[in-house]
Amino acid sequence: MSLASQIVTVTAINLRSIPQRMWVSLSTVVAVALVVAVLLSFLAMANGFQQTLRGSGAPDVAILLRGGAGAEINSGVSRDQLRLIEEAPGVVRTAEGKPLVSGELYVIVDAVKKASGTQANIALRGLGPEGFAIRDGFRLVEGRMYEPGAAEIIVGRSLLDEFAGFELGKQVRLGTATWTVVGVFEMGGTVFESELWADVGAVQSLFRRTNFFQSIRARMENPEAVSALNDYSQADTRLKLAVKSEQAYFADQAGGAGGFIQNLGWPLAVIMSIGALAGALNTMYSSVAARTTEIATLRAIGFGGIPAFVGTLTESLLLSVVGGTVGALLAYAFFDGLTASTFGGSFTQVVFSFQLTPELVVQGVVLALVVGLIGGLFPAIRAARVPLVAAFGEK
């Protein structure tokens, strides 16, 4: 018999005998499945959060903040600065010659988080008249647009799903004014869908911030024009605003919390893997022990040590791959698409959904394989070294 056919034969014997060790084999499968499920749930959470933020920014939209502010909530921009930017080079103009620039005010208000029933920070954004022309993908799906200057709000779809208090037609009292929710909008599941939008003039007057903005957004002719605008802004002492592409702005924010979740997932999974590894080793050692007579008998009739080694290792890898697959399925069934919300960069809630991608599943299965490989290696060495005398049934 060739080595190859010996390996095939012994491996087949190994795998077919798994049902005899049902419970102990099952414990390995469950252990690996849970480790992989935990890892994938964290990775899917981090990925979903990062995708939501990264998908929010356009490369050719410039966002201007006061230097050092870092986030819209900390920033402050005057009307004069807004006028200067409207005249800046590289800004796209409409057919009528109006620059696509929007001075925006960003106010934090309370909403009730449906999941916990507690108050949470929500962004109320006041947009300039050109705010919609700057943003791609905006779609009003219910109700109507707010009237300029009126105390009317349109609400993002994600916000509506996660928070109570801003349903269509509802009256909301913020400060001295009563606002009416007149519409619902979608914007491709981006950060903006976690916001309330209103006319900037209405927000300024009803929150007593006349002539005050927090950010300026401008649609530029091309992505390169964004950095040119930064040079322009730095050169003018009246401006000194920090200019970034909206894409870069949100990518920075994605790194923070998203990276934190990701950095939590891997160490947890590795620590849990050590537990699962102990289980896998245990299972495989007992598998070798149960088959000692069988392995020795095979040796006695001319089989080599290598088939015993390969057979045992294959059994271990198979169990862990099954475990890894079950874990990935569990993560998919329970976590994929699950929506949650947490603080984004501007101290307000960002709604996102867990996203399990094939790349992440591969990471999970690789972890399972590593557990299976190490968990099978040492027992496989022992199997290869079973002495011939064990064939005579020493028990």
């Binding site: 849970l34 502010a69 849990m272 949650a340």
Partner: protein, 387 residues
């Protein structure tokens, strides 16, 4: 030959197997110890809050300001022992990544309100109260940047501009370094004088962030809160007054449901070891069927055999679990400076240890009871006959 001796010998007759089971148990209890402590510290804002402390915020949101005139009107409300205020500064030291949780406060009343949380050296406290340009620094912050009492340090705000210099930086003299006065208090925070800040900031003058107060009696909390909110109803700045615990809970909820995440992870770890250890124990006892038959023949009572098998799984659970909790203790010390204000006062506390011990007992029983029952029911003739 005591039972314990037999139990120990039985447990370690196959060393690899015993060690592997212990490793699995060790990992689960390490995770339980660290995550349980983390969750406790994370939720400390709720559980560790003072029973008589209330927080008054602008009703729109806690980031919206209120006029400073509100403070004296709140002080006049019946049942208020002392009231102070705090203001978010958004500070960092030299570079934006050196973020410092920093508040401008009214010093004397503020230290009265939070008196049970922080411990001061009396002379340093007096120096802080006396000098308007001084700052009180939590020992965690002081340690992070190597600050000493007497140092002159700049703090830059990512929100406000200093009118006297035209940039966003204020200079302070460190007058006091304070330490936590009780369990679950974080010192990842600095306080300085509101007056100094208010006079020099470019906008928002004479407005304050939040009012924090102590009532004379926890039973009065609801009444005081209602009275304050009624006082400012229909004004341009309506308020919402809640207990500090409720405020902190809502804040923690905004970050996410950490409790649920911790429960899921620890639950997964425990299911794993239950499967591994339970299975292995059944197997280990089955291998000894014959021996148990011999013990029974020798006249060992059933109860004693039952106890010996159960004792073995309990011993296993306690060795693995005990080492796991010990490692968790070390891990908490290591992690505490890294998580900072996110989980203040992270340490392996007694309640977590006690819960851990409870789980060890539970685990020992659950994994031992089936093999023990099998051993108990064993008929001597079949036992000796079985191969």
């Amino acid at each position: 030959m005591g039972d314990l001796y037999l139990i120990r010998k039985n447990l370690f007759r196959k060393k690899t197997r015993a060690v592997l089971m212990m490793v699995a148990i060790f990992v689960a209890f390490l995770l339980f110890g660290v995550l349980g402590s983390f969750e406790r510290a994370f939720n400390s804002g709720e559980t560790g809050a003072s029973a008589t402390r209330l927080v008054v915020n602008n009703k729109i949101n806690f980031t919206q300001p209120m006029p400073i005139a509100y403070l004296n009107r709140v002080r006049a409300v019946e049942g208020v022992r002392v009231a102070s205020h705090w203001n978010w500064f958004g500070g960092y030291f030299q570079e934006p990544r050196n973020f410092v949780i920093s508040f401008a406060v009214e010093p004397d009343t503020y230290l009265d309100v939070v008196g049970t949380d922080y411990a001061f050296v009396p002379e340093e406290k007096a120096a802080f109260l006396a000098d308007r340009g001084s700052i009180a620094v939590g020992d965690a912050v002081a340690k992070k940047f190597g600050w000493q009492v007497g140092d002159r340090i700049p703090l830059t705000s990512n929100i406000f501009t200093n009118r006297s210099t035209g940039n966003r930086t204020w200079d302070f003299t460190i007058a006091a370094i304070f330490t936590p006065a009780r369990d679950l208090v974080g010192t990842d925070v600095v306080f300085f004088h509101y007056e100094y800040f208010n006079e020099t900031r470019s906008f928002g003058r004479d407005f304050i962030g939040s009012i924090v107060l102590e009532t004379t009696d926890p039973a009065l909390n609801d009444k005081v809160a209602d009275a304050i909110d009624a006082l400012f109803a229909n004004s341009p700045f309506e308020t919402k007054t809640v207990t500090e615990a409720a405020f902190n809970k809502a804040f923690a909820e905004q970050l996410g449901n950490i409790t649920l995440i911790v429960t899921l992870v620890v639950g997964a770890a425990f299911v794993t070891i239950l499967m591994i250890v339970g299975n292995t124990m059944v197997m280990a006892i089955r291998e000894r069927t014959r021996e148990i038959g011999v013990l029974k023949t020798l006249g060992f009572p059933n109860g004693r055999i039952f106890r010996m098998v159960l004792g073995e799984s309990l011993l296993l659970s306690f060795i693995g679990g005990g080492l796991g909790l010990a490692a968790a203790y070390g891990a908490c010390i290591f992690l505490a400076p890294l998580v900072g204000g996110f989980a203040p006062g992270l340490t392996l506390a007694l309640p977590v240890v006690l819960a851990g011990v409870g789980f060890m007992v539970l685990l020992g029983f659950v994994t031992g009871v089936i093999p023990a029952m099998n051993a108990l029911r064993l008929n001597i003739v079949t036992a000796l006959g079985r191969d």
